[in-house]
């Protein structure tokens, strides 16, 4: 009996050892992804990659946004990575690169034939550069644009607003019984920060000046926040102080609001026949945000510094982000990041039409990231909390922005 127990225990240990050793070996890469439509496209395209590279097995671990950062963190702190390839949200880039979690890609990029790195939209590619090194290549953009109900604008003879003052005037005029001019997203944290920063840009403001000083409580920021609050109180639906992306989208798609500042790739979804907008599909158009400078978001592909399969990881990344596959991805509905893709007549024809891609190119041209530098995630949360407090009247504009400035000073240390 004792012998049986001993042999069972040895077998169990041997099985566990073999199973563990199967987790990481050459020819297999693990990729962490966010569960969004762009992931579905990548997963479909990967079948081609596997056919072309039979020696490399690709395992995706797709999950909601909230779970990603913690998983990447634990994988990166371990002696050997769980994930060989990660996607990096733009506020995480500096933090992860400086923590030593990411592998520099400069030499891999320069030695990759036909990769055309310069073809990436410069504003997007620059996000992944930290202290002169490249730590990621663009995966998909989420730059903000102005989405409007073109039928309403046409029937009222309204021009697309170019300045923030024009926008305020237009959305106020569109607010009547049962219809609101702007579906806004003043939800605490990321959402309000992402939306309000377009207003900050329109007023010529920024988070830091050229010398790196915090200027989030200067006159431009005060004006931007006053304008934002005024517009929310006069042109946004009532009881929307805690609205985020879902609520604003629902309001526009159900015909209750005429405009919204949102991700550029929501336009095809809003205009899709039989989609969320019902009979309103086809009436939505995309434009540059008022003021002309948009908040830019980006997901990038990166390789973890503690990965045991960096070569295979790069083989996958260089393939999925190559000009040819990037074009296929855009045709299948992915958000483009290469100039050649946005200017391709084939993409216009098989994708969402020339108007969308040219509007997107204009948006990206004048855009800037939501936040960069160390601890950007913390910075966004701090500022976003104070902005929300000001919008809901818990603090005055000046109090909120001063508190935001103090919080940012501490966060970036």
């Amino acid at each position: 009996m004792k012998k049986l127990k001993l042999s069972t225990a040895i077998a169990a240990i041997a099985w566990a050892t073999i199973s563990t050793s199967q987790v990481v070996h050459a020819g297999e890469i693990n990729i962490i992804m966010e569960e969004v439509p762009d992931y579905d496209i990548v997963a479909k395209l990967t079948d081609q990659f596997t056919e072309q590279n039979p020696g490399i097995t690709v395992n995706f671990d797709a999950m909601p946004f909230d779970a990603m950062r913690d998983k990447i963190m634990t994988s990166s702190l371990a002696p050997s990575a769980t994930y060989d390839v990660i996607i990096i949200d733009n506020p995480w880039t500096d933090e992860f690169a400086r923590a030593g979690f990411l592998e520099p890609l400069d030499s891999l990029i320069s030695s990759q034939d036909g990769y055309a790195y310069d073809d990436f939209v410069p504003a997007l590619a620059d996000i992944s550069k930290v202290d002169g090194s490249i730590y990621g290549v663009p995966y998909y953009n989420y730059a903000l644009g102005l989405i409007v109900r073109q039928d309403i604008f046409d029937s009222k003879g309204l021009a697309i607003p170019k300045s923030i003052e024009d926008y305020m005037s237009v959305v106020k005029s569109l607010t009547t019984d049962g219809m609101y001019g702007a579906a806004m997203q003043p939800q605490k944290g990321y959402k309000i920060m992402e939306e309000w920063k377009n207003w900050l840009y329109a007023n010529g403001g920024e988070l830091f000046d050229d010398a790196g000083n915090v200027i989030i409580n200067n006159q431009a920021a005060i004006d931007a926040l006053n304008q934002y609050i005024e517009t929310h109180s006069q042109a946004a639906p009532p009881n929307s102080a805690n609205w985020g992306f879902d609520e604003a989208l629902r309001s526009v798609s159900s015909g209750k609001a005429a405009t919204m500042l949102s991700y550029n790739w929501m336009l095809p979804a809003l205009n899709a026949k039989g989609g969320m907008s019902g009979d309103l599909a086809g009436n939505f158009t995309l434009h540059e945000v008022p003021g002309g400078k948009s908040v830019l978001g980006l997901w990038s592909w990166g390789i973890t510094a503690n990965s045991d399969n960096k070569d295979d990881a790069w083989t996958f990344i260089s393939w999925i982000s190559s000009p040819e596959v990037a074009k296929q991805r855009a045709i299948m509905g992915g958000a483009p990041v290469r100039n050649s893709v946005m200017n391709s007549s084939e993409v216009w024809e098989k994708g969402y039409g020339k108007a969308y891609y040219t509007a997107l190119a204009d948006i990206l041209d004048g855009s800037a990231p939501l936040s960069s530098g160390n601890n950007a995630e913390e910075l966004i949360e701090i500022v976003g909390t104070e902005l929300s407090a000001a919008v809901t009247g818990q603090k005055s504009v000046k109090e909120a922005l001063d508190a935001a400035a103090n919080g940012v000073e501490r966060a970036i240390k």
Binding site: Q187, P237, P238, N239, N242, Q394
Partner: protein, 295 residues
């Protein structure tokens, strides 16, 4: 021949310590070590993104946390939440228990239905109410609007109250369960004596039921209050602490500091301050709820 089992006092002591040894080891592993590590962590500038640059800072983290407006606000919100939720749940749970105790038919069925919310995971409850109370797609605001009532359940005035209501919905059944068990265990004689003496319902309730139920009420209050201090899921699923800081609770603050901002030293200091606060709270409740002995 059987010998009587004689164990000396010394041997008894010896066995006693041997028997509790496995538990001591287990608790040391799962509680003592993490606690000591947290204490150490609270004295360091320890960030997950600067793991090779950990520095001893003494009580600096405690100093910062104790004066941080966000921490104080989160503590205030948590105390308001705990007090409101537990008092609501106490009153509702006791009332329902008294009603159910009188039921003659369907007692088991009613009890099962009323206990159901307690078995749902809190994050699911949070998501459920996030949609039910949503001003754009929620069914509750929709029907309220039809009768002319427009409420922003997650606006700055009502958000914390909404979180309290959700907690009351989920955890009143726990109070109900405790009080029902307590009521059913009470001896019948004092009630019969009171009835013979002509005592009314209210007098019986306040003079006999409540005093006799006091130990159960105290235990239920402590368990619920300790659990309510940990409120996190509703906040995470619904408001993320907003609008502004109006629903930021202490657990959300600690989560955000430690796992969003990666400032583990500060998060550990906040946790230790919370432990101290809860210890004082429990000692106070236990002392205050002791029956006064008349000499």
């Amino acid at each position: 021949m059987r010998y009587p089992l004689i164990i000396t006092n010394a041997a008894q002591m010896h066995i006693k310590y041997k028997l509790i040894l496995p538990l001591v080891f287990l608790l040391s592993g799962i509680m003592l070590y993490p606690f000591i590590f947290s204490l150490w962590l609270s004295l360091q500038d320890y960030r997950l993104t600067r793991i090779n640059d950990v520095q001893f800072v003494g009580f600096e983290n405690f100093g910062f946390i104790a004066t941080d407006q966000s921490f104080l606000n989160a503590m205030g919100n948590t105390i308001s939440f705990v007090a409101s939720a537990v008092i609501f749940e106490l009153i509702l749970g006791l009332s329902l228990a008294l009603l159910i105790q009188k039921l003659v038919i369907f007692k088991g069925l009613v009890r099962s239905i009323l206990l159901a919310p307690m078995f749902i995971t809190p994050i699911a409850v949070g998501l459920m109410f996030r949609f039910l109370l949503n001003s754009e797609i929620g069914i509750i605001p929709f029907y309220l609007l039809r009768v002319g009532v427009s409420l922003d359940w997650f606006g700055p005035e009502l958000a914390l109250f909404s979180i309290v209501l959700i907690d009351v919905w989920q955890w009143t059944p726990f109070m109900l369960l405790m009080f029902l068990a307590g009521l059913e265990a009470l001896p019948k004689t004092p009630f019969e004596a009171a009835r013979v003496d002509g005592a009314g319902r209210w007098l019986t309730f306040f003079s006999i039921t409540l005093p006799m139920l006091r130990p159960v009420i105290v235990v239920a209050l402590i368990i619920r209050a300790l659990d309510a201090f940990k409120v996190f899921e509703y906040v995470f699923a619904i408001t993320r602490g907003g609008p502004g800081n109006s629903t930021e609770t202490i657990m959300y603050y600690i989560y955000q500091t430690g796992f969003r901002f990666f400032r583990m030293g500060e998060a550990a200091a906040a946790s230790i301050l919370l432990i101290i606060f809860i210890l004082v709270f429990v000692i106070l409740i236990v002392n205050l709820s002791r029956p006064k002995v008349i000499k």
